[in-house]
Amino acid sequence: MMAMSEKFSLEFNLKAGENNFMSKNNKAFVGWIKSAPGITISGSIILAVFATIYSGPYILVNVIITGGMLALVATGLTLILGVLNIAMFAHGEYFMIGSLTAYYVFTPISNYVNENPDSILAITGPLIAIALSMISGAIAGVISEKIVFGPLRRRSTDNWVMNSFLLTVGLSVLLINLHQLIFGADFKGIVRYWGGMPTEIAGVFISRDRIMAFIISAFIVLVFWLFMTYTRTGRAIRAVSQDVTGAQIVGINIENIVLLTIALSCALSGVAGGSLLFMYPSYPTMGLEPLYMAWFVVILSGLGNILGAVVGAFMVALLKVMTVEYVGAGWDFVVPSILIMMVLIFKPSGIFGSEVRGVLDK
């Protein structure tokens, strides 16, 4: 995390110097804005360290778990925004679908393990449930593309940003109500995935499930980042998000990339829901909170900026956890919202700039 943040501030400081829209007497202010990534990242780290010393390391644990989950949801959101040009407001529902899948897969496994405690399923069972939550997210994404977004795109791309946005809102309502209709509105949760004694790390006891949840999200984000940076297909996805015509010219089949992107993004959201089932039980509107939080991350880090979204996820998580700790539990939406409004007013391209600047202007 530290090393990565440093790399960011370097990279993005190099790119600064393009915000000349402010008047001269604001020079000092502009100077501060220009190093926004550096200031925010180092500020966040200092804040995290102080909170940890002051209130105890559990703060850090909560930030890391929440941040890992947010990173999964937000990178998917940012990817869909960049490649499909869709402001996605149904993304939380893939999170819900993932947790629902994990619940229905894990419950029978858990019953079986209770009767046969020595079964290998005690260890692999949760992994199976989490893997299937990822797959169900991907499938739900593909279905949405095939019956909702694809048909709209082929019919007309006039006013695309608005129309597709409205479609995602409709899709969200539809999926929430389908859940309620078929599975009911009650909480569908589990007590634990792995169980066992909590592990002690640097004086704090952390449950195995939390450690695994973090390992899973860190692993997936890392693999995803390597995929986007170094593989032919990952590069093709970035190419489409930067210039669709250019991508067609070099021989990329756009339809394939679009389908892959939506499958990947929804899989990331689904696996986040699945791996956190032990903390957040499944119920119809459970996706709204991760959705809003992920949008905070995307706005904070800059639209379409995948690497920035990972760092931004941990910042928003820190903000949320600190707010709950020091301001009060009811405020964890208010404080981030105020911050996001300030970002939109003072640095609309996000703290890390934007990888696909202008995608919404097309």
């Binding site: 590069r235 093709a236 210039d243 015509t245 067609q248 070099v250 089949n253």
Partner: protein
């Protein structure tokens, strides 16, 4: 015949721009299309490269009917399009942009060979290979766009207004590099505003006006044609 365009109709939505455009290119030729602004030169190239679907007519490439194929398939068949807007990937480095140009080549070794070839041709790109494409100057971007088009080792290159917006010195550079390509056996179709220069370097030319081919012939003949001299060269 490498490319044969037969009675091509094309346009945008319901708006028809091209009317029965016919043209041919033989292997190894260096052909140009000249014409006033808005005549439909770019539209012709977009239709051939598959970015817009023809409304009528046929496009035959290497003896194969490619009319209406999606752009990525046409690229795979060996036609590279260097557009007027360049359509570079602005947040990728120069080298990444070039490698994207070789997207249809899966063999890493061939990719590297192509990259070396382009860096030899444009040493400037080699110096800047780690720089983001979006931060390059206009002339460098043009070179990069042409280089990216070359990366797939195309049989036919469609180049749209490579000198647009460039300083005279850079224009000269761009024409020189196209010359090198033409001499190395690549078939080129060039669209240019700079009519005198274009007619002096190409073998053959077409004059496009209002979506129709008005004149066609050897470039040297066109350069001496009374009508062309009057309308385009102002003499």
């Amino acid at each position: 015949m490498l490319l044969e365009v037969k009675e091509l109709d094309a346009g945008y939505g319901y708006l028809q721009i091209l009317r029965k455009v016919c043209l041919t290119i033989d292997k190894g030729e260096y052909v140009c299309i000249v014409g006033p602004n808005g005549a439909g030169k770019s539209t012709t190239m977009k239709a051939i490269s598959g970015l817009i679907k023809p409304m009528g007519g046929k496009i035959i490439f290497n003896g194969e009917d490619i009319t209406g194929l999606p752009a990525y398939e046409i690229t795979q068949k060996g036609i590279a399009f260097v557009s007027e807007e360049m359509n570079l990937f602005v947040n990728m480095t120069v080298q990444e942009n070039l490698l994207m140009g070789a997207y249809i080549i899966r063999d890493k070794k061939i990719q590297r060979d192509r990259l070396d070839f382009i860096f030899d041709l444009f040493p400037r790109l080699a110096e800047r290979k780690k720089q983001l494409a979006g931060t390059m100057s206009g002339g460098e971007r043009k070179m990069l766009a042409i280089g990216r088009g070359m990366m797939s080792n195309p049989t036919l290159m469609l180049v749209d207004e490579p000198s647009f917006g460039l300083a005279p010195q850079l224009t000269e550079n761009v024409f020189q590099s196209l010359d090198v390509l033409a001499k190395s056996g690549v078939t080129i179709m060039l669209v240019e505003q700079n009519v005198t220069k274009t007619l002096s370097v190409t073998n053959r030319g077409y004059v496009l006006e209002n979506g129709k081919i008005g004149l066609a012939g050897k470039s040297s003949d066109l350069a001496n044609d009374g009508y062309v001299r009057k309308v385009f060269l102002g003499v």
